[in-house]
């Protein structure tokens, strides 16, 4: 019983360190970016606003971390809303 559980944990942990990063651009409206974060990640408006401001002031924000496949899914969603976003391996 223990072996499969360990395998699952190993599998998940080896695929975990991927970040979804949203980059600043001077065109997307702040209100729009906040609404996109709420829509794509289900963030509260406060959390979405915090990430939006981080993008605006620091040039980028890590909005999600986890498995690569899921990260790619989120980046596809964000590209659908025309937010400049990438996946990065968490170093």
């Amino acid at each position: 019983m223990d072996v499969p559980e360990i395998e699952v944990r190993d599998s998940v942990s080896s695929d975990l360190p991927w970040n979804v990063v949203v980059h600043n651009d001077p065109v997307n409206l702040m209100s729009y970016v906040t609404k996109v974060f709420v829509k794509v990640f289900g963030f509260s408006t406060e959390r979405a606003n915090k990430h939006m401001l981080e993008v605006h002031h620091k040039g980028r924000s890590i909005v999600w971390s986890g498995a690569r496949e899921r990260a790619e899914f989120y980046v596809q969603q964000l590209h659908g809303y025309l937010l400049l976003s990438t996946i990065e391996k968490n170093s």
Partner: protein, 163 residues
């Protein structure tokens, strides 16, 4: 010059954009065309998901994801183009059109596409868009167009819960 540009509720299902003079009507009519990612704008509308760090992943993205995004963006442009067919001229009150509430997300995204494309095509950066640079000619008109589209986008975002 028309009296006043207005975006308002007609009823629960419809909004009205009215008070557009010839110039503003021309800019609104141009949204679908301005939103088409031509030349360099394509790189911004379809950016690399890895910022070029993983060429294999980028190639797969180009093959499997880009066509879906392209269809999605074309859908938004077409939806706006269909609504534009209903534009009416109201004499001194300028041009007026109805926008179904269900189409607002497509309008918001098409406006965004157009703003991004215009920015790339006219090589505009943060300085120009914030108005701290003085520009004339096509780039100056493009800045006005981007800002006007931004106002429309803000109005629509304010009345739309789900994008």
């Amino acid at each position: 010059m028309s009296e006043q540009l207005v975006f308002r509720y007609k009823d629960d299902d419809t909004f009205i954009l009215s008070g557009m003079d010839d110039f503003l009507m021309g800019l609104v009519a141009e949204i679908p065309k301005a939103a088409v990612p031509r030349s360099d704008a394509s790189l911004r509308i379809f950016p690399s998901p890895t910022a070029g760090a993983d060429t294999e992943a980028d190639a797969e993205w180009e093959t499997f994801v880009k066509p879906d995004l392209d269809s999605q963006f074309a859908f938004n442009r077409n939806r706006v183009a269909i609504d534009l067919k209903g534009v009416r001229h109201k004499g001194k009150a300028g041009f007026e059109m109805e926008i179904p509430a269900a189409n607002l997300p497509a309008w918001i995204h098409a406006l965004n596409q157009a703003r991004l494309c215009l920015t790339v095509i006219h090589h505009l950066g943060e300085k120009e868009l914030e108005g701290s640079a003085r520009l004339h000619g096509p780039a100056g008109i493009a800045i006005f167009q981007i800002q006007f589209y931004g106002i429309l986008q803000e109005w629509m975002l304010a009345v739309t819960k789900d994008i």
